[in-house]
């Protein structure tokens, strides 16, 4: 398998101190890769660096074997699509208008779509199950529907790599599973490399091929879910008490939070 993303000695700092410190890792093509870590650990900065939104200050970032510096904006957009956390839409675009925007990097000087672009957009809407909403306005949708519309837009961008920033945050349980299943299908059926930042370690355990745990701008561990999601590593990174056992539905870890009122009772007393 070849490499989708290769990062060497990446560092990044905002004005008030470093956010990413000398990070090196690589992501294989076709992986469902999930980045986890506590608030302020640098997850989102890392994702924004890979997406090209912010430039790496130090270190190297290669996408499909080429340095990100050698990509033009449009070529990068055709290679990597980005689904941000909830987007506030100030103007009343319809669902189909928004999904079609994903074709932008392919349009000519005047920025007008052709029928082919519409076909691709309709296919993307069908894939994420939002085609019945095509003429609805974005501000009339629920959070879960809107998230699937933004994913359809990313699919419409027809890129090999899709980045998502906490796509399940603020969704109810059914929509969380739906979004994650969707990304799994995208990976399997279209062999897209999915890279996701997530707060939900249980979803990460169930769906991720490989996980990256970062804390305070440094890599704690990387590997299969059962290698990364150990209670020592998680308690160290998140700073709270956790119980890790095997999930009843498969061979991956299940993480249970331990509230303070239970923390003194057995079996947690060491």
């Amino acid at each position: 398998m070849s490499t989708a993303i290769d990062i060497k000695n990446l560092s990044y700092s905002y004005g008030n101190g470093p956010v990413l410190k000398d990070i090196s890792f690589s992501i294989q093509k076709g992986d469902f890769f999930i980045i986890i870590g506590p608030n302020g650990s640098g997850k989102t900065t890392l994702l924004k660096t890979i997406s090209g939104i912010i430039k790496p200050q130090r270190g190297q970032l290669e996408i499909l074997g080429q340095s990100i510096r050698s990509y033009t904006r449009k070529v990068l957009a055709k290679t990597i699509a980005f689904v941000p956390q909830m987007v506030q839409v100030d103007f009343p675009f319809t669902v189909s208008e928004l999904v079609l925007m994903g074709r932008s990097p392919y349009l000519g000087l005047l920025g007008l779509e052709r029928e082919k672009d519409i076909k691709i957009a309709e296919h993307a809407m069908a894939f994420t199950g939002v085609e019945h909403l095509a003429r609805r306005r974005l501000d009339q949708l629920s959070g879960g529907e809107r998230q699937r519309v933004f994913i359809a837009r990313a699919i419409c961008q027809d890129s090999e790599i899709i980045l998502l920033d906490e796509p399940t945050a603020s969704l109810d349980l059914a929509h969380q599973v739906r979004v994650m299943d969707l990304m799994e299908r995208l990976k399997k059926e279209k062999s897209v490399t999915v890279i996701m930042v997530s707060h939900d370690v249980n979803l990460a355990a169930m769906y991720g091929d490989r996980l990256l745990l970062i804390n305070k701008g440094k890599i704690v561990s990387m590997g299969r879910p059962d290698e990364v999601l150990t209670f020592q590593a998680l308690e160290e990174a998140y700073g709270c008490m956790l119980l890790v056992d095997e999930s009843p539905i498969g061979k991956f870890p299940r993480i249970t939070l331990v509230p303070q009122k239970f923390s003194n009772s057995s079996p947690f007393k060491n």
């Binding site: 957009a77 980005f82 941000p84 009343p92 675009f93 925007m101 932008s104 309709e122 961008q157």
Partner: protein, 338 residues
């Protein structure tokens, strides 16, 4: 084709065609009506260049009304488009073509020109243009570098410069007692009466390229509405698009303002009105604003010419008088439909 996804080109052509008809209709009315009463037939004969046309009427139509109607169309198009661009760039529904202090700067320039006793063209036009360009330069200096991309700092600098200019305007006005005061007030309220065909030609030549440029960036404006980060990951060069739009828009608005003074409200109401009617896609809205804004301005100017028994009133008086109620009506209707 799947009816769920309306094909953009079809919509673009339908909307443009409808609004073009509206514009041509308004222009025909503008050419036909005026202080000298003539039948529609006589006007049509003059327009179509028939041999038995009334030569006096032809002269009125081609020398006096035609430049004025074209000027009104250009001004309406520019101000509407300017409002549309600034509403998108600043993501603020209250933005209009004058938001960056163009109005204040050019008004100060124009008043100084009038007080110096310069002729309307090229004298006052030139000082007005110099005034608006210097405020723009000031804005770009204040928000130099990265902050030009921050919508709020740009907006606030514009508002502050306009406020500062207003006080200078009031100062100059309160120091003036003679007939020049009337000239100043007319300029401030917006007035199209001094149109002359060569002037209008120069204006058209300088703003039409801006229209083309803005249309080419209209898809980028759509993407900018999703936020800078999203737009960037979809291939938009944020800095280039923002700066080009700001410069092109400011230039064309300044160019029109120096010809006909401050015509308010067109730039605010027309983009909103068309957005309510045709949706938020800028690839449709840019041509729609050009044609619809032009038609609206021609119509308002016509009323400004025809309504008063004697003389005429500044066109800027009419724009808000019709625009505000019309806009509120459409807004209520679209609220009810939700």
């Amino acid at each position: 084709m799947n009816p769920k996804t309306p094909f953009l080109l079809k919509r673009l052509f339908t909307v443009s065609f409808l609004l073009l008809l509206l514009l041509l209709g308004a222009m025909f009315l503008g050419l036909s009506l005026g202080s000298s009463e003539n039948g529609v037939k006589a006007v049509w004969q003059s327009l179509s260049g028939a041999r038995d046309a009334d030569s006096m009427l032809s002269a009125i139509i081609w020398r006096i009304r035609f430049p004025r109607v074209v000027l009104a169309a250009l001004v309406g198009a520019t101000l509407s488009l300017g409002g549309l661009v600034f509403q998108a760039l600043l993501r603020n529904p209250l933005a209009e073509a004058y938001i960056l202090g163009i109005s204040g700067g050019s008004a100060v320039g124009a008043i100084i020109g009038i007080l110096m006793g310069l002729s309307r063209f090229p004298g006052v036009s030139f000082t007005a243009f110099a005034g608006s360009m210097s405020t723009l330069l000031l804005i770009f200096l204040i928000s130099s570098g990265q902050t030009i991309l921050k919508k709020d700092s740009l907006l606030l600098s514009g508002v502050m410069i306009n406020a500062f200019c207003s006080s200078i305007i009031m100062f100059l006005v309160s120091m003036t007692y003679d007939s020049r005061l009337h000239n100043i007030m007319f300029w401030l309220m917006g007035d199209l009466s001094t149109a002359d065909i060569s002037q209008v030609g120069i204006l058209a030549a300088s703003i039409l390229p801006c229209f083309v440029l803005i249309f080419c960036l209209s898809n980028s404006m759509n993407l900018l509405l999703l936020g800078k980060e999203m737009a960037q990951t979809m291939g938009v060069n944020i800095k280039f698009v923002t700066v080009t739009l700001l410069v092109a828009t400011s230039f064309m608005v300044s160019a029109t303002v120096c010809h006909c003074g401050l015509i308010g409200f067109v730039g605010l109401v027309i983009p909103h009105l068309l957005r309510l009617l045709f949706g938020p896609d800028h690839r449709v809205l840019v041509p729609a604003c050009m044609l619809g804004g032009g038609a609206y301005m021609v119509f308002c100017d016509l009323l400004a010419r025809v309504l008063p028994e004697q003389g005429e009133m500044p066109a800027g008086v009419i724009t808000a008088m019709i625009g505000a109620p019309l806009f509120i009506f459409l807004l209520k209707r679209s609220d009810l439909r939700k």
